[in-house]
């Protein structure tokens, strides 16, 4: 077998391909995104971006029932969107292997919350596998499909940001085709609402059989060591344990739900104290406590907030203090992410700040609009919430409120809220930031871009026609680089007595076709500059102080002209003109 360097995400995809997956669907969400992108590179796999995670899950259920091995991918909050089918599918059980990859984000590197998906799996009564490195990620993907077909159950394949984004050495294998399994048309098994009461006991029986399987699953292993130090761990935290306590006896769980009760009880009987080292919540610890196992030390020492590290695990096991950085001695300034130079969102947020509007926001790069210099986003919760929130503020009597939502997010979860506002004649004003891509997760295609995941052409949504068809009469398109026009359009939207949508349309500067365009950088004329600092209201990273003057870094400037539009002294212009 060949050795390759692969990220956890790549290795999951490789394993799924080797397992014979024929269909895959998902919606982008860090840190899960690259799994589906990688699955799409295999010609044997029919892979596509769905409009949201629930749709991906529904499509995946259909494919698996229809007889082909299927993987659906999403981040933890994506599973919330897909929670409806996720909770019901187990009542039926699958036909061909069905694995839902769910990537949690301890530390919230790119998420709005920390959410331990193992709990959702327990509610759904679905088994959970979790690998500890890229090599296991490949092997466990294959095991997940075997488990799914053996018990005819959907399987949750849980990863975390660290697993997803860590590269390691993987020995790869070849693909085994999984022949299509015939679907038997038995409403008594698959028409759940009618037959749920009959299916319900079977779900418990299946869970009991999964509990027995956990006792024999080869991914649950005891690594013998010091007979005095017992540790139970899983996934990435296992690596931290091995790093800081290589001598310990470790029970490593590859299946984190249901747990091998008998084996864990036997293991714990050998030690005075057993450390349970797990990231996020104390799920394993709570399960073990429910088995009647006492003398466990877990969340008392290993925080449930943020990501663990080898240093934090050492602190919990041995009391070794965690070293401080040098921020107490020298100015280690924060470096928050910023909108790029010439980002079209800047024009909208500069205008929103100027107008002093209340802004309900959404999930995307534009969430950065809540930061200085704009401070022009006042609520952000989850995909699609902006529009419903604005409607609600309107109901509470707030008239100067707008919702701001990106194109991919709008198609994911914004449409029903526009429909509700239109249906109920609420004068909700929505600004749709149409930058022609799913920006924050790294430029994935979506139903508005005209391309599919596999790269082929696809029909592109006609936003204006779509939104009008929902019952919104006032729809206006504007170029957000044109600050005057943007202000006029937002004011007109607010003035309209019914629901209004302003489409701020300009492609993300990081798209390859945008990058390839010839750009003329702008320049500050030092003789004309009056040092008013108005240009800094753009918050543009190409604009810096140099020798006590505003200075535009020409290699970063894309020539959007927004700083020039703000300059009262006419001191900023294209390089050749100033």
């Amino acid at each position: 077998m060949a050795k390759r360097l692969m990220s956890g995400n790549e290795a999951v995809a490789r394993g799924a391909w080797e397992a014979g997956v024929a269909f895959a669907a998902g919606y982008p969400g860090t840190p899960s995104t690259e799994v589906l992108e990688r699955l799409a590179t295999y010609e044997e796999i029919d892979a596509h971006w769905s409009s949201n995670e629930k749709v991906a899950f529904d499509e995946g259920m259909g494919a698996a029932l229809g007889g082909v091995r299927t993987m659906v991918t999403m981040k933890h909050v994506g599973l919330n969107v897909a929670a409806d089918p996720f909770m019901v599918f187990p009542y039926a059980g699958t036909n061909a292997g069905f694995v839902v990859l769910v990537a949690d984000d301890p530390g919230m590197y790119s998420s709005q919350n920390e959410q331990d998906s193992r709990y959702l799996a327990k509610v759904a009564k679905v088994p959970v596998l979790e690998p500890a490195d890229a090599a296991e990620a490949r092997a466990m993907a294959i095991a997940a499909f075997e488990l799914s077909e053996r018990f005819q159950t959907p399987v949750m394949y849980r990863t975390t940001t660290r697993l997803a984004h860590t590269r390691g050495v993987v020995e790869v294998g070849e693909r085994s085709e999984a022949p299509r399994k015939e679907f038997s048309r038995q409403a008594s098994q698959y028409a759940i609402p009618v037959y749920a009461r009959f299916r319900r006991p079977e779900l418990e029986e299946k869970l009991d059989r999964l509990r027995e399987f956990a006792e024999e699953f080869e991914g649950n292993v005891i690594e013998e060591g010091d007979p005095k130090v017992g540790v139970v761990s899983h996934g990435i935290p296992y690596q931290y344990v091995k790093e800081v306590a290589p001598e310990a006896t470790v029970f490593k769980l590859g299946m984190v739900y249901p747990l091998p009760k008998k084996k864990l009880k036997e293991f714990c009987a050998r030690f005075d104290t057993v450390y349970v080292v797990e990231e996020s919540e104390g799920f394993i610890q709570q399960e073990m406590a429910s088995f009647g196992i006492t003398k466990l030390i877990g969340k008392e020492r290993f925080t449930n907030i943020g990501e663990l590290s080898a240093d934090l695990v050492a602190a919990g096991l041995n009391g070794t203090p965690v070293a401080d950085d040098f921020a107490g001695e020298v100015a280690v300034l924060p470096r928050p992410p910023v909108m790029c130079a010439g980002c079209p969102h800047r024009g909208v947020f500069g205008t929103l700040k100027k107008l002093g509007l209340l802004v309900t926001g959404d999930i995307g790069c534009y969430t950065l609009g809540c930061l200085p210099p704009f401070n022009a986003m006042h609520t952000t919760f989850c995909m699609g919430a902006s529009i419903g929130n604005a409607t609600g503020f309107n109901k509470a009597g707030e008239e100067r409120v707008v919702a701001v939502i990106g194109d991919s997010t709008f198609l994911h979860a914004g449409l029903p809220s526009v429909l509700s506002a239109a249906y109920n004649r609420v004068p909700t004003t929505t600004i749709l930031l149409d930058n022609g891509t799913t920006g924050m997760t790294g430029h994935q295609e979506h139903p508005g871009t005209g391309h599919s995941l596999k790269g082929g052409p696809a029909p592109a949504v006609d936003y204006e026609a779509l939104i009008r068809s929902l019952g919104v009469e006032h729809v206006e398109v504007v170029d957000p680089w044109d600050l005057e026009a943007t202000e006029r359009a937002i004011q007109a939207g607010l003035a309209h007595p019914g629901p209004a949508v302003v489409i701020a349309r300009r492609h993300c500067n990081l798209l390859p076709e945008e990058k390839a365009k010839e750009r003329t950088a702008y320049r500050v004329d030092p003789d004309e500059c009056i040092l008013c600092e108005d240009c800094f209201e753009t918050g543009c990273p190409a604009l810096v102080w140099q020798d006590d003057l505003p200075y535009i870094r020409d290699w970063e400037c894309v020539g959007c002209s927004m700083c020039s539009q703000l300059c009262p002294a006419d001191a900023i212009g294209p390089v050749e003109e100033v």
């Binding site: 390759r4 984004h165 390691g168 050495v169 040098f326 280690v332 300034l333 470096r335 200085p372």
Partner: protein, 192 residues
Amino acid sequence: MAVTNVLIAGVGGQGAVLASELLALAAVAAGHDVKQGEFHGVAQRGGAVFSHVRFGDRVYSPMARCGDVDFLLALERLEALRYAHFVKPGGTIIVNDHKVEPIRVADQRPYPDEAIDFLEAKGFNVVVVEATGKAIELGNHRAANVVLLGALAESLDIPQEVWDKTLQDRIPERLLSLNQQAFAAGRQLTIS
């Protein structure tokens, strides 16, 4: 072989992740077990980005512990300060002599122009490299990451043939020559 720990830090868009991937690929090709863990939120948006590369006989944790890093490669001076506490006492910090002002927030202290002096006073072996200057000379400021990697290569036991092949395999054809020159220039900067 004991595990070698390298931390590569920079500003989103500077290529810290690519540099660490190249190092990880070279270490695999040289026969090591490798883990490379990268940390980025919305990385393309100018935030701080860093990546750990660890290689040796057997590597567990994807990130090194504080005080265990042998080499810190910083593509920007403030980013060297941000992660210097990971470096072992007397360890090496190879820093690009380059400044990227972070976005200004209210009441912010001025940029720490004393970064290099501070790190030297802490007893680290600080190697200042004009990586961005050299990259601009070669025709593309974005090659600073590979200049820095070349500077590191002088201290690692990975043969030049392995580096050559790694660059060839990983870098797109149109940028290969630029990156080969950047790598060689980085090596040269540390030798002289």
